[in-house]
């Protein structure tokens, strides 16, 4: 009743092929965008912006990146954290080499470096498949992490070995560095995330995206039908790493302010993989839902005992969080292995036929 496409006639191919042919979808997206761009900045406090919204958006973008590789092209990757790290270090080097350049442009450019490295580590994927591919991406993860530690040029020979984000202004507004306001950071992160997400939504339904899905479903069959595996797989690796790299650069520039190699460890890779799987493989909206779940749940868990008046040591809470998150992941996998995206699809179907389900 609320979600019904009956009566929405299309009079041109263009309208029929639109990204969102159904009015309700367009309205829904518009509402979400209005909330994100207007309501949240107007009402939220700094804490909400810095510790929930900004990380959520950064992780969503990283999850989109991994989803392109794993969900749409079927190549399992455990090296997401390292590719994000490449983006972060590249952005750091770029801003220190070109101090006057626009920092947003630098962040977007940094993804190019991680795309190149991602494509290199994607090369074995032509010969190694499935779970075996996990080892090449793990090689990337540990090798790149080692590079972040052992190549002092990457962090400008700092004594601490960490990268610290310099003070940069964009159009007179402090965009990065410790003085940047949460609001400015939020808008930059939101803008980049929305832009890339919409771009990807279009790429994925085009020729490139469909060739990725062919490779995912069966690479030999795809090859027989004229898809070049080399080009297609490497492109998936490059695009995925580009997005992860941008997310990694945003993570340090607009959220953490400083990062050390351990920020981009294998734990981050797993976290992103969880977001993708729980959100739903092969779904962009799933990436957002997964990121929200995996990031926001521990934050909430941290405050629940306090609100209930139970006084627990920080350590105990952390351990309990680990347990609960692990248990919930298993629970959700059992209940709905296709992730939140499938739940959302089911919900939409229910709305469509409501109130007469038969």
């Amino acid at each position: 009743m609320f979600y019904r496409e009956a009566g929405q006639f299309k009079t041109s191919y263009k309208a029929d092929q639109a990204l969102m042919p159904i009015l309700q979808d367009r309205v829904g997206l518009a509402v979400i965008l209005i909330i994100a761009f207007a309501v949240i900045p107007a009402t939220a406090n700094d804490f909400f912006l810095t510790s929930i919204m900004i990380p959520f958006l950064v992780f969503s973008l990283a999850a989109i990146g991994l989803n392109i590789l794993t969900g749409f092209c079927g190549q399992l990757s455990l090296g997401t954290g390292a590719f994000m790290g490449v983006g972060a270090y590249a952005a750091y080097k770029l801003t220190s080499i070109f101090p006057d350049a626009n920092v947003i442009v630098m962040v977007l450019l940094s993804g190019v470096f991680s795309a190149a490295i991602g494509a290199v580590f994607g090369l074995p994927s032509l010969r190694i498949k499935g779970l075996y591919l996990a080892v090449t991406t793990l090689a990337a993860q540990f090798f790149l992490e080692w590079c972040f530690i052992r190549i002092p040029w990457l962090y400008n020979y700092n004594a601490s070995g960490a990268i610290e984000v310099p003070h940069r202004e964009v159009f007179g507004i402090v965009a990065s560095g410790a003085e940047a306001t949460p609001l400015a950071r939020y808008f930059i992160v939101l803008g980049i995330t929305v832009f890339i997400a919409l771009l990807m939504a279009n790429v994925l339904r085009g020729r490139i995206g469909r060739s990725w899905m062919m490779i995912r479903d069966m690479d030999i069959a795809a090859e027989l039908m004229g898809i070049r595996p080399l080009r297609t797989k490497l492109m998936a690796f490059a695009v995925s790493s580009y997005i992860c790299g941008v997310a990694g650069a945003m993570m340090v520039f607009f959220w953490l302010n400083a990062a050390e190699p351990s920020s981009y460890s294998i734990r981050l890779s797993f976290q992103i993989l969880f977001m993708v799987i729980l959100g739903g493989l092969g779904s962009l909206s799933g990436a957002f839902m997964g990121a929200a779940f995996i990031w926001i749940l521990p934050v909430i868990l941290k405050f629940v005992p306090g609100l209930m008046g139970i006084d627990l040591a920080a350590e105990t809470i952390e351990h309990a969080t680990f347990m609960i998150v692990g248990a919930l992941i298993i629970f959700f996998l059992i209940v709905e292995p296709h992730g939140f995206a499938r739940l959302w699809a089911i919900a939409k179907q229910k709305l469509r036929v409501w109130p007469f389900p038969y």
């Binding site: 027989l224 350590e315 996998l333």
Partner: protein, 317 residues
């Protein structure tokens, strides 16, 4: 530069044979321990097709349970028996709660479920026994602790830790026991039948659920032995999970389904890693142990995509 890469390390090996032997021994012991972890993976993968990421954490969890029980006043041997019991309960629980509802799901979902299990076990272990590193109760368990020095040549000296020798012996015994178990017992045959074909095994009256619980229990026992050995070399804490990641290239190198593969893979990685680190690592600033194993596995994989002993992958359309 070329001299440093291609000639100097070999000259060193020749000049100081005692050091080289020591390195080989270190590599051997590390390789055995990697192989033990990989063995746990292989057991579960063979029987259920589940890539059990939690094996590394099970190692730590078993070690931690053992030490934790002992700290709370349980005698060492009783603690050992209790820990075996705990691993049994864990195996049954995992089979009942995690594996059974997820039958027939794609590989990656099962993999994720075991990673979820990993998180749960990390949280649970730290919740119960605390997060700080613990000393393994080597002596109470009656394991040797000293070391023996052998003289090699005129001035060389190779030091062998007794615990390492014990680890090697136990590993060999364990592999032999598993071999006998797989080939000579009724349950072992059932396990192999399940590994070959789930449906065919079901049709001749083998209970899959029972087999999975047994296999997880066997993997738990292997994890316990590994935990004791590894814990004796360094402290028991969840920092050991990094070792679990090392077992991955071992496993992939050997092939997911092969027990000999796990052993050979473990030894290759162990030797390669130590020799590479000590003779070539200095050239690039050291610490290459953290990724060398993966690169070795990667090189092998490029030539044999199914691993050294894996079954040939046949693709059909």
């Amino acid at each position: 530069m070329l001299y440093d890469i291609f000639i100097d390390p070999f000259v060193q090996m020749y000049d100081m044979p005692d050091f080289f032997l020591q390195v080989l021994w270190e590599g051997f012991v590390a390789g055995i321990l990697y192989a033990l972890i990989a063995l746990g993976f292989v057991l579960i993968f063979k029987a259920s097709g589940v890539f059990n990421f939690a094996q590394g954490i099970m190692v730590v969890f078993a070690g931690l349970t053992l030490v934790g029980l002992n700290e709370n006043g349980v005698p060492a041997y009783l603690a050992l028996i209790l820990t075996i019991g705990v691993m049994g309960v864990l195996a049954y629980g995992v089979e009942r709660v995690v594996m059974r509802p997820l039958v027939n799901q794609p590989d990656i979902i099962l993999l994720m479920a075991t990673i979820g299990l990993t998180y749960f076990l990390v949280g649970f272990g730290e919740f119960v026994f605390g997060g700080e590193p613990k000393q393994m109760i080597t002596e109470q368990l009656g394991l040797p602790t000293g070391s023996t020095a052998f003289e090699i040549g005129e001035r060389g000296l190779v030091i062998l830790q007794h615990i390492d020798i014990a680890a090697a012996v136990i590993a060999v015994l364990m592999v032999a026991a598993l071999g006998i178990f797989f080939n000579k017992t009724r349950i072992g045959r059932a396990l192999r039948a399940v590994a070959d074909d789930h449906q065919a095994a079901l049709s001749v009256g083998i209970s899959l659920n029972q087999i999975w619980a047994i296999v997880w229990f066997a993997a738990g026992l292997v994890a316990l032995a590994t935990g004791i050995m590894w814990g004796a070399r360094s402290d028991v804490s969840f920092a050991l999970e990094i070792v679990a990641f090392k077992a991955l290239p071992v496993l992939i190198l050997g092939g997911f389904t092969s027990i000999p593969g796990a052993i050979v893979g473990g030894l290759i990685i162990g030797f390669g890693e130590k020799i590479g680190e000590l003779y070539w690592g200095g050239l690039v600033g050291g610490g290459i142990e953290s990724w060398l194993a993966y690169i070795i596995a990667l090189v092998f994989l490029l030539f044999r995509p199914q691993g050294l002993f894996g079954e040939r992958i046949i693709e059909r359309i």
